[in-house]
Amino acid sequence: MTNDIFFLAEFVEGQPQRSALELAAGATRLAAQSGGQAVALAYGAGAAAGAAGLGAHGVDRVVVLGDENRPAITFAPAAAASVGDGLIFLAPATPNGRDIAAALVGKLNVPAFGPVNEINLDGTTLHAKQATLQGSVVTVSQPVDGAATPAVVLVLANTFTPAEGGSGSAEVSEAASVDDDPLARAKVVESHTEEQSAVNLEEATVIVAGGRGVGGPDGFETLGELARALGGAVGASRAAADAGWVPYQLQIGQTGKVVKPSLYLGCGISGAIQHRVGMQTAENVVAINKDPDAPIGEFADLFVVGDLFAIVPRLTDEIKRRKGA
């Protein structure tokens, strides 16, 4: 066993996703503790060209799994062949990250953890902290003695903070080629763009989310103005996405995105458990709802009972005024 910490670094159009930079920060910290290297497994369009740039984030080595835009699962065979006997493999708790992590668990028969919001090392023993059973229990788990490595850990967004302004350089190599593997047979046969300016909600540090109470696309325009004033993004409950008011890319919750912003501001969202599991690790939760008994009032930090259509525009103006001051 080496003490290397591997992590998945997804690239889109030559740019590392924020998850890659967050995991670089986590892997670097864990590698300093374990005495190993922080190693990125880079994949996606432009990964080869962008790989060396990860050195500035403290990464020691980058292995490029592939440079094409294809289903994430198809990179899993190369990932499994590249992790050797590293100590830990970190993957973002996104659909793509989970696909590759899952394949590693199946191929290498290694333990799986997460999604976690805290990882600690005691010597070289991993302790992974996660909420389970819809957040009703917080568990800390570890690999059993003698379990194969690397331990696979799914990591929630914003668990680690990207390091800025480093000057290190990383050694870049290409993953060894892998013989035809059934997992590599999935292929994209059509690609459709519906939203020109979609944001990646998992990367937003401020989210203004709307639910059924927002009433329609016009209401989401109002939330959009507040989000812009706060420098944040708009999210939604499943009800709002099902109603077609916003695209599904903006859905937060069990079957949408799992987010961990520093501020989540929910408007007209009741706070059903399916939504709550997507945002319960937000650092600050503010809710505006006209129903004083809405479940979100039970777990928000600040709960304002009132009419969002009257409050939100005034709040937007107030924030603009204070920021301008």
């Binding site: 289903p71 899993a76 659909p95 989970r98 899952a102 394949a103 668990v105 199946g106 191929k107 290694v110 333990p111 799986a112 953890f113 999604p115 389970t132 059973l133 819809q134 957040g135 009703s136 229990v137 917080v138 568990t139 800390v140 570890q142 690999p143 799914l154 997992l183 047979r185 999935a186 994209v188 046969v189 059509e190 690609s191 459709h192 763009t193 939203e195 020109q196 979609a198 706060l230 499943r238 599904y248 890319q249 069990q254 079957t255 599991v277 600050n284 503010v286 009032g297 928000a300 930090d301 600040l302 709960f303 304002v304 009972v305 009132g306 009419d307 005034r314 709040l315 103006d317 107030e318």
Partner: protein
Amino acid sequence: MKIVVCIKQVPATTADKRYEADLTLDRASVDTVINPLDEYAIEQALRLADAGKADQVVYLSMGPEQAAEALRRALAMGGDEAYLVTDAALSGADEWSTARVLASALDKLAPDVALMGMASDDARGSLVPGAVAAMRNVPLLSYGAELRLEDGVARIRRLNASGHDIIEAPMPLVASVTDQVGEPRYASLKGIMAAKRKPLETWGLSDIGLSADDLRPLTTVDSAEPPEAKPPTERVENVAPEEAATRIADWLAARKLI
């Protein structure tokens, strides 16, 4: 065309959960349901059967003996037969051991498509579909908002950052679907009666070629505790909108969020 839908019995969202001394959930004492996201996989399979794209829908579950109830409920929605893998050695199974059991049972059932929900309600790793695909050495199509089967090829529609992709792979394979495939049907009274006569077989580990030694979990729980109590919610009520907006802005400013 044979579809095997893998389903899990989970505690109902509202259920009071209790833990055993070894920090595993006491699954015998709680109200249970079919994992709600697995119902979408059932619905997708039944729609394919209704459309003549599948001629056999089979259910597979791993769990304690009472998980047979979940399989009966699934059979009441439709489908042909069900299999439950149950064994004392499976208590406290982690994602790896769950995947290992399902993969071995699927080897025996040999479906064209092994279909799963995108996540389970009681543990949210979503790793089982991909791990099963890797163990069985077949392709994975995951997070499908729709599954279509045509000419030996399966296709899913999957959200991407700005729209959606159509992704295809040759069968046999493992697929997982989201809650966008269509609302699960209710079991009719007729369906419930019919389900009682449908075959439901129970397998032990030896029936799928495994032993307890093959399934030692790879993870262990150090501690299980309720989440840290948050400070009580600050409530703002019965104030004019201007006042409410000012109070929110003050609250954000005090936390350096603006």
